[in-house]
């Protein structure tokens, strides 16, 4: 299963982002091949609602789960329609590598 983590930069030691739509990069972790792909937020620079652009991009990458500090209302509706699991991590002092470690632990 592919998991997209909203992050503050492209570095793997970076912290997760407080807001799903406004993050700078997404780290897409594949728990079958144990690989991480980093993509720029496709909606950067767009004002207003950017949910549809991001969700289309994530669906194209067959992401089934997303992690962020918080989700906007409109993007929640879209993710819900597309059966993508949302995870709200209220503690945004956690790094992307720590999250990947937790996701990994499950498979071992």
């Amino acid at each position: 299963m592919k998991t997209a983590i909203a992050a503050q930069s492209s570095n793997s030691e970076t912290l997760i982002d407080k807001h799903f739509g406004k993050c700078s990069h997404f780290h897409i972790y594949d728990d079958i091949s144990h690989t991480t792909e980093v993509i720029n937020n496709p909606a950067q620079g767009i004002k207003g609602c950017k949910g549809d652009v991001i969700v289309d991009e994530l669906i194209a990458k067959s992401v089934k789960r997303v992690i962020a500090g918080d989700f906007g209302t409109k993007v929640q509706q879209l993710l819900n329609q597309n059966q993508i699991q949302m995870i709200i991590h209220p503690d945004t002092r956690v790094s992307v590598s720590e999250i990947i470690e937790l996701l990994n632990h499950k498979n071992s």
Binding site: G72, T73, Q76, N80, Q85, I88, P90, H105, K106
Partner: protein, 137 residues
């Protein structure tokens, strides 16, 4: 004649806290103020996501005048809690969650579980089964 029952208010994400407590000069035990989920949601949509009241009312599936009353009640409750140094507790009022949320008591995250059977739901990060369901019923 009994009054017409209230419509359900659609709420998206649950609040990430169960309440707030004053601290400092006066932190004695006062009667808590009960803030409903839908009131929290109204305040968040208007003042955090910066929607207009008419947009927010469509999101919550209620009429614009009803939304305004809900928003006003939220503001008044919070002002009451601040002015009288009373703790705030959140409570489920007539909120209807658009999807079922779970809270993992071990790592304190919130998650949804689309297309999953109730018995197979575990915390996606720590695998704990110590979950609290935050749903409509």
């Amino acid at each position: 004649m009994s009054p017409r029952p209230k419509n359900n208010r659609t709420v998206f994400d649950p609040p990430k806290f169960k309440g707030y407590k004053p601290f400092g000069y006066y932190d004695g035990e006062n009667e808590p103020v009960f803030l409903f989920f839908e009131e929290y949601s109204a305040l968040k949509l208007c003042d955090y996501e910066l929607m207009t009241q008419s947009q927010a009312s469509q999101v919550m599936n209620i009429s614009r005048p009803t939304f305004t009353r809900l928003y006003e009640s939220a503001r008044r409750k919070i002002a009451l809690a601040l002015a009288e140094a009373r703790p705030i507790e959140v409570e489920k009022g007539r909120a209807y969650f658009s999807n079922d949320w779970y809270n993992c008591r071990a790592c304190n995250i919130f998650f949804t579980a689309p297309e999953m059977e109730l018995s197979s739901i575990r915390c996606p990060l720590c695998q704990s089964k110590n979950l609290e369901e935050i749903t409509t019923n």
